[in-house]
């Protein structure tokens, strides 16, 4: 287990995402603060797939949300394509996420009133990108849901719902996909299928992937593997 030294990476290609000295703490109900990130830092390069493991409560999800600009950092800098992005306004952060990030969570969070296809179209609708809709519809086929486009989420199985979530996360063709226990809610067979799908689609589309998981065997299937311990990130590859 080694800490990441950026100086050693001077000859590497420019990272897509670089985290420098991230700090994040939560106030405890009884007073005091619980430090989740203590100077965490790492880099992620274009097209890479990486997993992030750690024990429960180690702050994996918090780190992911900070990287996805869903949560504010206490200190530290987050660079995306060389530009610091964590200081942006809430509105600019939303615009940034729309253009650059895709998310998959443990729960699919599909909108029950919308069909599978309409759920996949959501990012395109928000971005006002009608041109991406045909590609987004193609993604639904790629995840194996051809013929089920007009079904509502509650008419799909758990695995199918998560496939829709995968297609939705990639609909806007984001350079970086962040997943948080994306297969944690599925049985091992379905989880395996979804992970295969995720890795193959990201590879096919050239999307950089960072997945939080508590399953070590799943984590080993990614090109790189990071661990979060005591608020610091360790390269386990």
């Amino acid at each position: 287990m080694t800490s990441i030294d950026f100086k050693k990476m001077e000859n590497s290609p420019a990272p897509l995402l670089r985290a420098e000295n991230l700090f994040k703490a939560y106030k405890e109900a009884k007073g005091g603060a619980s430090e989740v990130l203590r100077g965490a830092q790492f880099s992620l390069y274009p097209g890479e797939s990486a997993s992030l493991v750690g024990v429960s409560g180690s702050g994996k999800s918090t780190l992911l949300y900070c990287l996805g600009l869903l949560e504010n950092l206490d200190s530290g800098t987050l660079f995306f394509k060389g530009k610091a992005v964590n200081g942006l306004s809430a509105q600019k952060k939303a615009e940034f996420r729309l253009k650059n990030l895709g998310f998959i969570f443990q729960f699919h969070h599909l909108i029950p009133e919308l069909t599978a296809l309409e759920n996949v179209f959501l990012p395109c609708e928000i971005a006002g990108r009608e041109d991406l809709k045909s590609e987004a519809a193609g993604l639904l086929k790629k995840v194996g849901l051809e013929g089920k486009e007009k079904r509502f989420p509650w008419q799909l199985s758990g695995g199918e719902q998560q496939r829709v979530a995968v297609a939705r996360a990639l609909a806007n063709r984001p350079p970086l996909l962040l997943t948080d226990e994306a297969t944690g809610n599925l049985d091992p067979k379905r989880a395996h299928e979804i992970l295969d799908l995720l890795l193959s689609m990201c590879s096919e589309l050239g999307t950089t992937l960072l997945s939080v998981t508590h399953d070590d065997s799943s984590a080993r299937r990614y090109k790189r593997r990071f661990g979060l311990q005591e608020g610091q990130i360790w390269d386990l590859s």
Partner: protein
């Protein structure tokens, strides 16, 4: 995005198996209905007050004339004709009058009243009766005629055809008999209880006076004339037109080059000036009632906001997901504003449509008949004015937009990240 949003939040054209969501949508529509009803109540109340105001204005105009013109002195017969010739186009007819205080005695009791004698002139300048006497000439040598207010006639215990005696103290040594031609009911007790109009031609005939000015020598020196206009000048709608007319004519009368006598001082009043306190009171009533019912509709709009809050909180994970995708705070604020405004607009349209429907039903339903002998009308005088509808629309939309904008702002500043995953808050 709009159609997807409407499907998502309002379930329009969408299917969802969750009964809870159906219930929430149902409560949202109930909130919309309550805003519609409160707006309809506001519209109806304003229409009712407008109706009473207009009915009263019309009744006063028909009885007292739309314009009252006081002269500083009694005018001669020649001057009366001269004045008639000076009139701007507008009035249908005019009536000269004198007033004095007197005593009227009926069958059993007497009353001190303000007595008014009226006459008009035809196109040849000949004296004729007031329009209140339906242009019927009095038979020569018969008892002079009088019209009494209904309330006064009831107090005196007289009815049309009966005889009353009128005493003008300090003017005539003895009382004069008058035949009650008709009882008059303008719908305003204050006026009805002391309304006495005498028919000048028949009085002149009885007193053997040939002209109004010679009658004046006997009776007193109050004098002026009333102008009665066509429908377009009547009631609230004609008020501005009437003011403009009166202003123009006043200018002409006051002009040095006018053909009218130079010493003829003038004071022009419209019906609203004559009863300014009453109409101001009605106006204040309208404002007070609008405030009370306006607050009621504000509460109904808050009801929509409260239901929207529950609707959004029920979908907090979906909002969090949209937020993660890139649905920014500005977009969320705009969404809530749009949705609230849309519901407000629907409520306002319903409220506006309900107002005339309820108004029609209320004014026509038999159990809401009102006593004609008191109000001069037997149904609620609903009057649907454009300004009232504009007020209603502006208020309905205004409170909805205000409430939605505030709610949207609050929601847009909320952090939904804690509800999206499976981690600690």
């Amino acid at each position: 995005m709009l159609s997807l949003g409407l499907k998502w939040l309002l379930g329009l054209g969408a299917r969802s198996p969750e009964a809870k969501r159906g219930l929430l949508r149902g409560s949202l529509w109930i909130a919309v209905l309550s805003l519609s009803l409160s707006l309809a109540a506001l519209g109806l109340t304003r229409s009712l007050v407008s109706g009473f105001e207009a009915t009263l204005a019309r009744a006063l105009g028909n009885t007292q004339g739309e314009v009252l013109h006081h002269f500083g002195r009694w005018v001669t017969e020649a001057e009366e004709i001269q004045i008639l010739e000076s009139l701007e186009p507008g009035p249908n007819f005019s009536e000269f009058f004198w007033t004095t205080q007197g005593l009227i005695v009926g069958k059993t009791v007497g009353r001190g009243v303000l007595i008014e004698g009226r006459h008009s002139r035809n196109s040849e300048g000949k004296i004729i009766s007031s329009h209140l006497f339906k242009n019927e000439p009095s038979p020569e040598g018969s008892t002079p005629r009088a019209i009494l207010g209904k309330a006064l006639a009831d107090v005196l215990g007289v009815k049309p055809g009966d005889e009353v005696r009128i005493l003008l103290p300090g003017i005539l040594k003895s009382s004069i008999p008058f035949r009650v031609f008709e009882t008059h009911q303008p719908g305003l007790y204050e006026l009805e209880s002391r309304f006495v109009v005498l028919d000048n031609p028949s009085l002149m005939d009885w007193l053997k006076q040939k002209s109004p000015e010679s009658l004046n020598e006997l009776i007193g020196d109050s004098h002026g004339f009333r102008l009665f206009f066509d429908e377009s000048f009547k009631g609230l709608e004609g008020e501005e037109k009437l003011d403009a007319w009166a202003e123009g004519w006043k200018f002409k009368v006051a002009n040095a080059d006018s053909a009218l006598p130079a010493d003829l001082s003038t004071r022009i009043q419209t019906w609203r000036d004559m009863k300014s306190t009453l109409f101001k009171g009605i106006g204040y009533n309208k404002i007070e009632l609008s405030l009370v019912l306006g607050f009621l509709s504000l509460v109904a709009a808050l009801n929509i906001a409260a239901t929207l809050i529950v609707l959004f909180l029920e979908r907090d994970r979906e909002i969090a997901l949209l937020h993660a995708i890139g649905f920014g705070p500005r977009a969320l604020w705009a969404w809530v504003l749009l949705l609230g405004s849309l519901l407000g607009a629907v409520s306002t349209v319903f409220g506006i449509l309900l107002t005339p429907i309820l108004g029609f039903l209320l004014s026509r339903l038999p159990f809401l008949k009102i006593p004609q002998e008191i109000y001069n009308i037997d149904h609620l005088p609903i009057r649907l004015n454009l300004p009232d509808f504009i007020f209603l629309s502006a208020w309905g939309l205004g409170v909805s937009i205000l409430v939605a904008a505030t709610l949207g702002y609050k929601l847009s500043r909320m952090s939904f990240s804690t509800v999206i995953g499976n981690r600690r808050a």
